[in-house]
């Protein structure tokens, strides 16, 4: 079970909920279950979102494991210059 | 519109071309003669990326008409090295990493060559003002100035 915080525009797409608890062992499972529970998130997930695990921001690589009781943040995918 | 026949010297070679009366020397160099070292950054003489030397005078080739090169001496970046021997300025630009994207580099090298020909021992301020007609967006000019200083001392010593 991991606690996922949805930030900024992602929170709005999940019906205003900022913190959700999901049972998931990797990013793919996390996304699948999030999309099931909050369909509004699905298009954003498809476009690509950034996943912060214990402070480091990662890409949305499906196989990335989510350590137990890690702090997970989902952030909008950002652009650089 | 009929073309203008021009006979000129470019980097020491006799060159002849036909151009339109309203064509710039920059366009002639790049599009007719294949000398793409001079770049168009603005087309209005503000950026110096098209710098060449015309009869010992540093000019923006986008502000010179192709027809105006008649009977004159043109020096471009392509003539700066001698065979495989780089000019000290070219060598120092490489050593000091005075270029990042490199688009402004040909213009700077020509302008610096002209600067040092007229003032072989410039102060930092003289270098900065002497090169103020060339825009660089990548380097902040620090390494460009150091490269010119280093080249100046090499050229004085030689």
């Amino acid at each position: 079970m991991v606690e996922v915080t949805l930030w900024g525009s992602l929170g709005a797409a999940a019906g205003g909920k900022n913190k959700v608890e999901i049972e998931a062992k990797d990013i793919r499972e996390l996304f699948r279950k999030l999309a099931e529970q909050y369909p509004g998130l699905e298009p954003l997930i498809d476009r690509g979102i950034a996943v912060a695990i214990d402070g480091t921001i990662y890409r949305d690589t499906w196989s990335k494991e989510l350590p137990k009781s890690a702090e997970i943040f989902l952030l909008p995918r950002l652009a650089g210059g | 519109m009929a073309g203008v026949a021009v006979s000129t010297t470019i980097n020491g070679d006799n060159v002849e071309y036909l151009c339109q009366p309203d064509e710039t020397l920059l366009d002639v160099l790049r599009d007719r003669l294949g000398l793409t070292g001079a770049k168009e950054g603005c087309g209005t003489g503000d950026c110096g990326a098209c710098s060449i030397i015309l009869d010992d005078r540093l000019v923006c080739s986008c502000l010179v008409l192709g027809a105006e090169a008649e009977g004159r001496r043109v020096e471009t970046i392509e003539g700066m090295a001698h065979g495989d021997k780089l000019h000290p300025l070219q060598q120092k630009f490489l050593e000091h990493a005075a270029l990042q994207c490199g688009i402004c580099t040909p213009g700077f090298l020509i302008a610096a060559k002209d600067l040092l020909a007229k003032n072989p021992d410039p102060t930092e301020e003289e270098i900065r003002f002497g090169l103020a007609g060339n825009l660089c967006r990548c380097t902040g000019y620090d390494k460009i100035v150091r490269a010119v200083q280093d080249a100046a001392s090499v050229m004085k010593g030689a």
Partner: protein
């Protein structure tokens, strides 16, 4: 893939040295070919017709006269670019921006284009295209555009992210919020509070090379595109999608690029060039003029930011709040959101709240500019922080050290930080000799911190070992500032050979797998990781070949300093085999030796910098002189230190121009008044002093060599550092960027008079 990206300490032989870059000679001799330096046989000249109105409905476009002009081979409008975006709103916006479909949304918006045999004919053809506009009221100011009386650019847009769903369309596309704690309570505990509003004007990346491409669409549906870009794979994807082509049929070659800074991460005229070529059946060369670059590519946001920060008298910040309004041009973006995320990222805050508003205006489409959105937010926050420190009576650096984020701090954008470098940069600044340099009359010192995310991403590299022992490294990240040198150093390091034995090139889209763009400070970070991985794969094969040549087990072969060595007493007389020797025999031992890597580089880690700046202000004219400038930034591991210094200096210089002079000036008619380098004044050589740099190296735990991205962070602190310096020199708080002479003078006079 068994590649382990984690950092392990080592003594470097090549990495950290300063050799000459492999593409250098071509660049100093004029041989290097940029976007406009390429030509195809039979090519036509492409030119674009652009709206002279800031906001207008396009009622009708009559291209018949232009089509009849001798020498004109194709004329296109939006009708020649059917909408294939299939509900993808972002792609639709790109399509509409490339060629207006219903409305001209800014001065310079493309409405039609021609391809003709020469430039003169193309220009004449543009004049013959008749466009029937219905001019509409326009709005170019970010605050004006938010008012309910403002002309609405897009009446299908209803602000997202509000508590109550709005009933009227708006120019505000979205509201986003970040933060934690309770700012109301936090302000209640504050002994001092500073509250200020700030404005920053729109600026452009200012690359010296205008957008340029040569497009060739063949009758069999394949196409070639030569283009200056920061991401040829992304350009391929977008162009193919917009033109209805399979990506594999479009081959994009990246020319050398004359600057990008984020402005060449989006397509502007490339789909137009392809569409023209498709219609004309011939190659089309399309080069933007400088005027077009300013009017119709992608400048930054103009912003309006309110900041409120409170602290106790011991210097601890108790609450921090900011409202950020960013202009997006005519299409939705997430610019204010990024500003809201980065605004307070440098600090350890118990209570913080940032709210961002994305605002549509009749200006060109906002694009990324080196750490997009962060510089403006940093300007506002760092200015307020400075003022707060002063009110409390604390030193500017000490105040920041006291409140700086560290490992374990909850960031203002959400996640808790791992090991980060802001503390070290502040400590380095505190003891830097610049802080002791004497200041004279009308001279002031300012310092500021900055933050940026860095990115990883999809990356491929091919490392091929020639039979003569030379190594070819093909990468897919466009080289914007010397990365070919850095990547050659990494390959040399990993293989244990001389730098000169490695030649790095940037491959095209047909010869290498997909690579994300060179943006987000990811070029060296990502490609070096993939290079290390590819080199390790090649080393495995080299060991296998050596084992074969010696007829021993590969488990007994190690790779050390560019040689295969047989380990173990029983192999004591075998000596060593160099890479060159193994490569020379490769034809007999199994064929060419190579290492490949396809990976998603990740864990780039965030980046911090602190800058110091000394400015002299002339109180009679408001003009300024930059006396001293110092950049301190963490690079993790500087692969080629000279090029890392170059990134620091370049970002600082752009920030200096942005802080003191650069701005888009719009007239009442909504037209851009200064689309040229004369009046859009970027710093020239005589404006700047030497820019001192200090590279800190706190290894990134997620990269084998500890490398961090460095390209962007250095543009984040300058606006604030300079504002603080000017404010100290002039004795009045500056709140409007750029601080051009008229603004400084007005502020001084207001302070005198008031």
């Amino acid at each position: 893939m068994n590649f382990d990206p984690r950092y392990s300490a080592r003594n470097f032989a090549s990495v950290g040295t300063r050799p000459i870059r492999p593409d250098g000679v071509d660049k100093v001799t004029g041989r290097a070919r940029y976007g406009a330096d390429f030509n195809m046989a039979g090519q036509l000249v492409g030119r674009v017709l652009r709206s002279p109105h800031a906001h207008a409905t396009i009622r009708k476009i009559d291209t018949s006269k232009a089509e009849k002009l001798p020498g004109v081979k194709a004329v296109i409008t939006a009708a020649d670019l059917p909408d294939l975006t299939d509900g993808d709103a972002a792609m639709y916006d790109i399509l509409d921006n490339c060629m207006a479909r219903n409305k001209a949304l800014y001065d310079g918006h493309a409405v039609a284009a021609v391809a003709a045999v020469d430039a003169r004919t193309a220009r004449q053809a543009l004049k013959l295209i008749e466009v029937d506009y219905e001019v509409l009221p326009h709005v170019t100011d970010v605050d004006e555009a938010m008012k309910h009386t403002a002309p609405v650019l897009n009446d299908t847009i209803f602000t997202e992210g509000l508590e109550e769903k709005p009933v009227k369309p708006s120019n505000v596309t979205k509201r986003t919020q970040y933060g934690h704690g309770d700012v109301h309570e936090g302000f209640g505990h504050a002994d001092f509070i500073v509250e200020r509003s700030f404005k920053t004007e729109q600026t452009h990346q200012g690359y010296i090379e205008p957008h340029a491409c040569v497009a060739n669409v063949s009758s069999d549906g394949t196409a070639d595109l030569w283009v200056c870009t920061q991401g040829h794979f992304v350009y391929r994807q977008h162009c193919a999608q917009l033109l209805g082509m399979e990506a594999s049929k479009l081959r994009v070659t990246s020319s050398e690029i004359g600057g990008g800074f984020g402005g060449k991460t989006h397509v502007w005229a490339e789909p137009v060039a392809l569409a023209l070529s498709r219609k004309a059946g011939r190659p089309v060369k399309l080069v933007m003029t400088r005027d077009e670059v300013f009017r119709a590519s992608g400048p930054t946001s103009a912003t309006s930011i309110d900041v409120r920060i409170g602290a106790r008298k011991d210097g601890t910040i108790t609450a921090a709040e900011a409202t950020l309004r960013y202009s997006c041009g005519p299409y939705a973006g997430m610019w204010a959101e990024i500003g809201a995320m980065t605004a307070f990222a440098c600090y350890n805050l118990e209570n913080v709240k940032t709210v961002g508003f994305e605002v549509l205006v009749n200006r060109p489409k906002t694009a990324a500019y080196r750490a997009p959105s962060a510089p403006m937010a940093a300007f506002a926050v760092e200015s307020a922080i400075d003022e707060l420190a002063k009110e409390i009576g604390m030193d500017a650096v000490e105040f920041r050290i006291r409140n700086a984020a560290q490992e374990g701090t909850r960031s203002s954008y959400g996640p808790v930080y791992g090991p980060i470098g802001i503390g070290p940069t502040l400590e380095a600044v505190k003891s830097h000799p610049h802080m002791k340099a004497p200041l004279g009359k009308n001279q002031g010192r300012g310092m500021a911190c900055g933050f940026w995310f860095n990115f990883g991403g999809q990356t491929c590299t091919d490392l091929n070992i020639g039979m003569d022992g030379s190594v070819s490294l093909a990468v897919g990240t466009v080289d914007v500032g010397g990365s070919r040198a850095s990547l050659s150093l990494v390959a040399a390091e990993e293989l244990g050979i001389a730098y000169e034995q490695v030649k790095t090139v940037v491959a095209d889209t047909a010869t290498l797998g997909y690579n994300d763009m060179t943006d987000g400070s990811r070029g060296t970070f990502s490609s070096s990781m993939a290079t290390i991985s590819a080199a390790r794969n090649a080393t495995k094969i080299l060991r296998e070949r050596a084992a074969q040549m010696w007829d021993i087990s590969v488990d007994d072969v190690v790779w050390e300093k560019g040689h295969a060595t047989a380990k173990g007493e029983k192999h004591g007389n075998l000596g060593q085999l160099s890479l060159k020797e193994i490569a020379g025999a490769s034809g007999k031992t199994g064929g060419p030796i190579a290492g490949h890597s396809e990976l998603v580089a990740d864990g780039a880690g965030v980046s911090f910098a602190t800058h110091i700046c000394d400015i002299e202000v002339d109180p009679e004219t408001g003009s300024t002189r930059v006396l001293r400038y110092t950049v301190v930034q963490d690079a993790g591991k500087a692969v080629h230190p000279t090029y890392v210094e170059g990134q620091y200096q370049g970002g600082a210089a752009q920030g200096i121009g942005w802080a003191l002079n650069e701005e888009y000036i719009y007239g009442k008619d909504g037209r851009l008044q200064n689309p040229g380098f004369l009046d859009y004044r970027i710093p020239v050589c005589s404006d700047l002093p030497m820019i001192d740099t200090q590279i800190l190296e706190i290894p990134n735990p997620n990269h084998p060599y500890g490398v961090r991205g460095v390209g962007e962070t250095s543009i984040v602190p300058p606006l604030a550092a300079i504002a603080n310096a000017v404010s100290n020199a002039a004795g009045v708080r500056m709140t409007h960027i750029p601080m051009s002479p008229p603004r400084i003078l007005a502020a001084i006079e207001a302070e005198r008079g008031g």
